[in-house]
Amino acid sequence: MSNDNAPIVKLEEVTKVYRQGETEVRALRGLSFEVQAGEFLALTGPSGSGKTTALNMIGALDTPSSGKVWVEGRDLSGLSRKQLSEMRRDRIGFVFQAYNLIPVLTAYENAEMVMRLQGKAEEERRRLAMELLAEVGLEGLEHRRPDQLSGGQQQRVAIARAIASRPAVALADEPTANLDSATAEMLLDTMEKLNRETGVTFIFSTHDPRVMNRARRILHLVDGKLDRDERKD
């Protein structure tokens, strides 16, 4: 990061063109926006508007056809595959719609997995993972495997996993889509609290009104472009 006011995420004229057989799909058409550290932000828009594609760009999961993406001031297009992998491991947390926990690992093992990749000491991993699982309300369920947990509980483990590595940005792709209202609200409470207490920037891709109600800033995407930047003060 160059200075404190620099955006933690910046997209500049990003386009993404997919090929589906003979057809060209333009998922992003010159998308530009900036996100400051500590924001609790939602990308929203109709299906096909480019929300998930934008999230993939920020998360270094995909590369733009043109334009640039910066995370913490680093131009992702200038990073090697290894550096991108390290960026995802150390600076970005992911929460997926379908939870995507490793099915053969327990809740505790899933939560500490990224810290293990980071090479953190066992004691530190244990302390942080247990604290975070308690934080998301899973105390006592640490040794259960995903198939022994409800959908809401699995998503809590996914949040703990995303935050455990102390990332700069947590990206959540439709995190409440598969959850009932009460569970979704509980999860949003948890994420808001983590955002407040740890300063982690949350960027959601969603069209769930419950998420948009909590977001302090909403970027409305239409046809791969920014249609409206709505800030709640």
């Binding site: 999961l61 995802r88 490793i102």
Partner: protein, 416 residues
């Protein structure tokens, strides 16, 4: 997971996600190993048995003989075989016995008939079951007693052809060392019945003292010193060591050199066995490849998620390779459990094939005196089979592992 132990743990759990598929793969490995062990063990035991029989019927595992004896095996091609030399040879740690022998062709005649035969003259007081194949095959009468016994022991068919019985006279005629025709009178002490046509129809056993006297040999002269070693696979090395103790024209030949047709037959059979086993191992590897590849393709999304979370390509590659390692290790354990009981049975009881071959059989000129096939694999072959299984399993895992490391995270995550 950064450290190897956690990757290994994750891989171990992964292989048990689809128990039935893993069980089928392990069964495939176990069956492949069972086949390889039994075929190799059968070969090791039967070829070893043939080599030992050939040694007992002639010049031992290593033979000291005149340098020209192999080309022209006549009775004038002799070597020094005194007690000092045989005792010196027996000091080699791999040597069990070093026994002087005289062997060659003779004509046997009775009042009724005359037949050509192969004679072997031995010192009966120094021979036992481990050096002579015929001691246990006496069907009538007795074996010769001592080095100067003037009797003869005949093959059963030869005795029948000569129309001779125990204690009856037989005239021996042979060419002595100086090329003269010599004859001697002897009496039948015993009849051997091996079941092998060439032995029963053409073998005559004499005492070595008697043969030396007939042939005009010196007391320490022989056509061969038959040397028996602990393990026939060491014959060439033993022969090389013994050469250092000999003076021209004596040479030491391993059984491969003195019986090239037998060595060629065994090499050919072992070669064809290995080709068949390689084929089985390739089939086994294809099964393992299928398991791992299907398992990787089913988990593309998961690998994409792991890549998104920060797993490197190398770590994903290593994860699938660990799955291969576990399959190899557990496959070998399953193979040991699967193979062990059958191997034990065939090693101790064997397969009696006397009903298939009748009374006797010969392979590559070697009589098979005991019609039982045992399985007795050399340890080095066990290691080779285990090594091939591990290499085949790891090789089968390479492409799936490479594939796992190259899953584009964004594409995989889209696969809902």
């Amino acid at each position: 997971m950064a450290n190897r132990s956690k990757l290994a743990t994750l891989a171990w759990r992964n292989i048990w996600r689809n128990r039935r598929r893993t069980a089928i793969t392990l069964f495939g490995i176990a069956f492949g190993v069972l086949f390889a062990v039994l075929v190799t063990g059968l070969g090791d035991a039967s070829y070893g048995q043939m080599i030992d029989y050939a040694a007992k019927m002639g010049g031992g595992h290593v033979s000291v003989q005149h340098e020209d004896y192999r080309e022209t095996p006549s009775l004038d091609q002799t070597v020094r075989a005194d007690d000092a030399l045989t005792a010196s040879i027996e000091t080699d740690p791999e040597v069990l016995h070093a026994l002087p022998r005289v062997s060659g062709a003779t004509m046997l005649a009775t009042a009724a008939n005359s037949y050509g035969a192969f004679f072997m003259a031995i010192d009966p007081s120094r021979e036992d079951e481990s050096t002579t194949a015929f001691l246990g095959a006496i069907s009538e009468g007795r074996m010769l007693e001592g080095p100067d016994d003037k009797g003869i022991v005949l093959g059963a068919t030869l005795a029948e052809n000569l129309d001779v019985e125990l204690d009856k006279k037989v005239v021996l005629t042979m060419t002595d060392k100086s090329g003269e025709i010599v004859s001697g009178l002897t009496r039948v002490r015993g009849i051997v019945k091996t079941g092998a046509p060439s032995l029963d129809g053409g073998l005559a056993l004499l005492s070595i003292g008697h043969a030396r006297e007939l042939l005009g040999y010196a007391p320490d002269e022989s056509t061969q010193i038959a040397i028996f070693v602990r393990d026939h696979r060491d014959s060439a090395q033993v022969a090389a060591r013994i050469r250092g103790q000999l003076q021209a024209p004596s040479v030491a030949l391993s059984w491969e050199e003195s019986s090239p047709e037998l060595a060629g037959f065994i090499a050919m059979k072992m070669g064809s066995n290995w080709i068949m086993q390689v084929f089985i191992m390739v089939l086994m590897a294809a099964g393992i490849f299928n398991t791992l590849f299907v398992s990787v393709m089913e988990r593309l999304r998961e690998f994409g998620i792991m890549a998104a979370l920060g797993f490197s390509r190398l770590q994903l590659f290593a994860l699938v390779m660990w799955e291969s390692v576990w399959i190899a290790i557990f496959g070998l354990v399953a193979a040991a459990a699967f193979t062990g009981p059958l191997y034990y049975y065939l090693n101790t009881k064997g397969i009696d094939y006397s009903a298939m071959v009748g009374e006797g059989a010969e392979v590559a000129g070697v009589a098979l005196l005991e019609p039982v096939l045992y399985v007795d694999i050399y340890f080095v072959h066990v290691l080779a089979i285990a090594g091939i299984v591990v290499v085949a399993t790891l090789a089968a895992g390479l492409y799936p592992a490479w594939r796992a490391g190259r899953v584009p995270p964004a594409d995989a995550i889209r696969l809902v």
